[in-house]
């Protein structure tokens, strides 16, 4: 089986695995985005078989996690650049004694309130496996194993990107570019070194992208539709931000069925299994597993909020990307937009967002992205015939992107109106990281071969350099 893995893919998987392991060890314990809450959720699920609650309970953190946060300075560490974690053997020994004294009860009492208890439980069930395996070791062994399990999801994401690229590009170079853009993206590899449900969400969306492309390219079949719905189900059972996958699901099914023009009976036979799985998964979650406060939370709040308007949404979204037009009201909230989300926190802001590259580096990335966008327009114009011939794939990719970005804008607008908090960050764009890689590959493969080779090499080199520098910044920030 291993022999069938293309060499470039195997190498990129190896690099991404290496980077993921490096991030796993470099990021100080419990310093990933909301990592204590993700850990608590998993621990409570693994120890008691039950989810923590969103509002109830009297232990947001289990006693074990609380002791780590409090005693080892990991609580005050988050977001404070000049703070350092405990790093002496004496402190580690004292902490071990504390855990020993507390006993097993200290693992089970993190019942809530846990803000992440609003999340569906699939990722946490997955993370419970390394948690169990790690039970043979120390608290830190568990943490590391759970992080490494997130790294496996990165490998799945990388592999799915390669497969998706293979659906679009006959040549190997664009596949390497698309996959490399995912495997070497610093934010992606950083996230894979933390305990975070986004890892499964990203893998599910990338897998969905691959299957959707295959579906519209090769035509519908019961297996493909089942696989597509399976990925959609994983997305729905992972996070509230997984909900918008329903839009590209509908689009992919509609496009593939329109192109195939099957009989009604055939349609029913194809769809039955997949949609059945989807309905069963969502129904089971909604009826059996959803918290009393609502099926989802955070970015997917379904209750209406006052003060919203279509014009306000359009104005806020416009000003997210562009300067305000004369007729527009000033966007509420902080100066937060395209650069902060699509550049800074998409390419790399680490830990609790306090570790970042120098501003000039982000400016360079922004410039490169601007050139890339201009190149995309030129490539679409120059290869219009080819683009038009592959309209189905383009529609699917656009649907995947628009659904996620659209949800984030709606969520951000709702949040800004209510609380002046823009809510969204670049990490939330990672579910469409596969589309990002495919787009980069499309633009660069549109250049002449020699120019494409050099540009692609610079892109991959730049991402790797960012990754290594990110690791260096993180290591010195926590331990320097």
């Amino acid at each position: 089986m291993l022999r069938r893995i293309p060499r470039p893919l195997a190498l990129l998987l190896a690099v991404s695995a290496l980077l993921s392991v490096a991030w796993t060890f470099t990021t100080a314990p419990l310093q990933g985005p909301d990592e204590p809450a993700h850990f608590n959720f998993t621990q409570h699920l693994a120890e008691t078989g039950a989810k923590p609650t969103v509002v109830g309970g009297d232990h947001p953190d289990s006693s074990q996690v609380f002791a780590a946060l409090y005693f080892l300075g990991l609580d005050q560490l988050a977001g404070v650049s000049d703070a350092r974690p405990a790093w002496s053997a004496a402190e580690e020994r004292r902490f071990d004694d504390l855990l020993e004294d507390a006993g097993e009860a200290a693992e089970e009492d993190g019942a809530g309130p846990n803000p992440l208890a609003k999340n569906p439980p699939l990722y946490y069930a997955y993370a419970a496996l390394p948690y169990y395996v790690g039970s043979a070791g120390s608290f830190w062994d568990r943490l590391i194993l759970m992080r490494l399990a997130s790294g496996l999801l990165l490998l799945a994401t990388v592999a799915f990107t390669w497969l998706a690229a293979a659906e679009l590009f006959a040549a190997a170079w664009p596949r390497v570019l698309a996959t490399g853009c995912v495997a070497l993206l610093p934010q992606m590899t950083f996230l894979s070194g933390t305990i975070n449900a986004d890892n499964l969400l990203v893998a599910a969306w990338t897998g969905f992208t691959f299957v959707a492309l295959r579906l519209v390219r090769r035509g519908p079949s019961a297996r493909r539709i089942l696989a597509l719905c399976a990925f959609a189900s994983v997305s729905l059972l992972t996070h509230g931000r997984g909900l918008p996958i329903l839009l590209p699901l509908v689009v992919a099914l509609a496009v593939s069925l329109l192109r195939a023009r099957p009989s009604v009976g055939q349609v029913v036979r194809w769809l039955a299994l997949g949609l059945g799985l989807l309905v069963a998964a969502f129904g089971a979650y909604r009826l059996l597993l959803a918290p009393s406060t609502g099926a989802y939370g955070g970015e997917v709040v379904l209750s209406p909020t006052g003060g919203l308007s279509v014009s306000g949404f359009l104005s806020a979204t416009w000003q997210f990307y562009f300067p305000r037009l004369p007729l527009m009201e000033l966007r509420v909230g902080p100066d937060y937009g395209y650069r902060q989300v699509f550049i800074e926190s998409f390419f790399g802001k680490f830990a609790t967002l306090e570790i970042s590259y120098p501003s000039d580096v982000y400016s360079l990335i922004q410039l490169a992205c601007a050139l890339g966008l201009a190149g995309l327009l030129a490539a679409v114009a120059g290869r219009w015939a080819a683009v038009r011939a592959r309209w189905a794939e383009v529609v699917v990719l656009v649907a995947v992107t628009v659904s996620m970005v659209g949800l984030l804008h709606v969520a951000s607008y709702r949040s800004l109106v209510g609380s002046l908090d823009p809510l969204i960050t670049g990490r939330y764009l990672l579910p469409v990281v596969g589309v990002f890689g495919l787009t980069v590959a499309f633009v660069i493969s549109s250049l002449r071969p020699r120019a494409g080779a050099v540009t692609g090499a610079l892109v991959l080199s730049g991402l790797l350099a960012l990754n290594v520098c990110g690791l260096m910044l993180t290591l010195t920030r926590f331990y320097g």
Binding site: R7, D82, R84, S88, I144, P323, G452, L458
Partner: protein, 943 residues
Amino acid sequence: MARVATVAFVALLVGVVLLPVRSFLTKPREVIASTPSAFTGATVPIALADGAEACADEILFDTNAEVARFAATAPAGTVAPALEVVARGNPEGELRSAYVAEARLKGGWSGTRVLDVPLEPPRRATFGTFCVRNLGSGPIELVGNENDRAFSRPTLEIDGEASPDDLPLRFLAAEPASFAARGGQIMEHAATLRPLGAWWWWLLALAVVALAPVAVVLAMRSALSTDAVLRARAPAPVGAWPSERLRRRVDATPGWAIVAAAGTLAVLWFLYWGVNTHVFQFDEDQYVYLSRLLQDDFPAMLWDFDVYGRGLQRLEVWLLALPSFAFDSPASLVAGRFLNAVAFVSTAVPVYRLGRGLGMTPRWAALPAVLSAVVPWAVVTTAFLSENVAYPACLWAVWSIWRATAAPGWRRDLVALVALLVAGAARTGLLILVPVLPAAVLVTGLRCGAGSVLARVRTLLREHVLLWVAVTAAALPLVLAPLGVGAAATIRARLAGGYTTQVNLTAWELVEKFGSYFSRSVVGTGFLAAAVALPWLAHELWRPRDRRSFGFATTVVLSALALLYSLAPAGPDERYILYLAPLLLLPAALALSRREIMPAGLGIASVLLAALLLRVTWNPEQGPFGFFVTPVEMFYARVLGLRLAGYLPGDGSDALALVAVGLALAGLALAVLLRRRPEWLQGRPAACLVALVAAAILLQTHYALTKHVNGAGSKAGAGIGERAFVDRAVPAGVSAGAFLEGAGQSPEFFPIWQEVQFYNEQIDRVYALYENINPVPPGDDLVTGVAFDRTGRVVSPVPLPDYVAIPTPIGIARLRGEVVSAPTYVPVALIRLARPARLAWSADGFGANGLVPDGAPGEVRFYGAGLPPGEHCASYGLVAPPAAAARFRIVRGGKLVERGTLDPSATRNVVVALPRLAERRSIDVQIRGTGLQVAGISMSQDC
């Protein structure tokens, strides 16, 4: 192909490692030993009385904890007492230790200080307590923070009692060290709380640094090799786009269309920054006021030399008058910015025409044309200054002079004379180009004409009759004025205004000044342009290839010298040398397009220009308007100097020296290549070099615009719309007035009135209570001697208009009326006057900004005449000073009606009833207080 890709991949990685990574890892930094308590919430003071002690427990004293850092504040008005600091190991428990370290800190300082206390560290890491004792006779406050966002391990006790707050505390090593020097220690730290030891970290680091790049390179090479095989099998390249159709379309695009498209983008670019500029500078307000005056006094003002005082120069005023005639503010100001941007960018047209006239292909001619439109000095488009129109006017003049030299004829002479007149109208200083016309014609005719010298002179006289007549006419005032002919002196004075070209500098000082100006032009146009242009110009003057080129070189050199000469008495503003940019870019593009770059010339010029860059001074600190006044210098000194110095040894001047040497070497390398391997520079390498120069220019322009507008330009401040609060509120065609009284008549208020007048076109009258002090914009009617009688009725020589802008600080008299608009960024409000015009109240005894003098009352008389019957009351907005509480007493008609105390910095609104005010003529209210400020007084019936 795989090799090229590998080289690119490795080159970028090596570049990153050599510059930022090396610099980051080798920079000496403070070494943090531990941070027992960092930021956990809002900062709070932790009071420590005489003899009191604050102790934090659960402190880990590591073996390199040589300095303890915390902060303390001496309460206002006191000095800090001496402090004793004791670090002590826990006497009991498994990790007990006899460790004790003590230190004493001298008192006597004031304010807040970060205290670095040297301590003897323990031999092994020890848990213990850290105590600070107040040894002095006065209190001190430790800078603490709340337990809010997070918790830290230590518990703070003050004299044995637990405090809810934390003492932020950090331990440091005594000496700074770089990360590189502490690699082992960092790996040891990182191995804590982990399953594997420090060896694992080294292994991991090695793998990431060495194996990851190799794996990516192997993946790249594997894919590119596979594709090469595929490409060899298939005739069409795999995945490459079918670009021929697009290429044909691009090739078919005419040069003018490229100029137009690039110009449109440039206009939008400049307009964005222009509209977001919310300051105006000296001269801008004059231009704006005069453009408004032009409408009132049209057409006489067109040629009025007395009001203006700048000689012939007036084109910018005319240009701004167009939108001012069509719209009110803010639309007129936005349109003015647009016209300025269009005018500036239109410089591309004469440059393009020059290029075409010199035989360049349309696309080659488009290159200098577009670059001329986006030079760094385009930052002037964010201001209403004459350079915006003078820049294209100058280049039109140069174009017309060149035409007169290239192909003689009276029509061309006429066009040149008109162009010079327009250039003079755009900027008086450009009149210096007038002598360039006959000089260039003369030199070109003599050098390139046919026959004997006499025959050439005769030809010149015959072919340029109109020009010589004009020269004679123009010379008359110059000759006659010193002879005392009054009319001639008047003409000369009117043309030149207050400007002069008299030089009080020695020859060397002049050369130095020219050198300084020219160095900015060299950097601003991307260095290589000048290195290519100068030898080409020299060669054309020495051995001309044809008449057109010689005429062009002569015109360029004479024009540049004339412009530099005219700047001898000028300041350092780089916008004065803006005109030199196309005079460098055009010859450079010409040399490139004709393949006439001389290797020796390029090498020599590069070295000389680099020497010039080394010789002149570059100052990175030029104040808030530095990015506007000296955009190139700021870029060069800051981006190339200071920023590069962060990555290299030495300071900014060392980095600039390296840059200059690097530029010289680059020029020399190009010269050598051009000489020995010219084929290496053909095609794409040449295109890359051109792109590099273009990028250098664009980068500087972007830098100047963003830095200026985001900084001094107050992009984040109130917008033009908010500033035009009068024009937006007052109906179109209705005049508004400004009412100067109280604080509004002080010299300090003048900039505020200037601000209001600049952004509001509909204010065209100024009313001053009694006498006026401050200047009034040209064109505004000034009405002095406004007064009021005992009933508050306003007496004015000219009736007040319905809408009046008034100062909001407490002054002498407040007009009665409804507040229509009250922007927050200036202490001015727009009111609609109640009729007949009366005062709401008058005041006496208040200091500046409504301060109530200690020991004396601030008196306010509220007027009742004309008010509707019923309840009336006054509302006082009181403010206490930041450092002390303020007491107040309010007395109405001799009776105390309100008293109280405000905490430091507190504000309070106090309502005072004004019983039967409508029936009475007036009510007097007195307010007394200590340190009290009355921020505002308003009247209403809503009591």
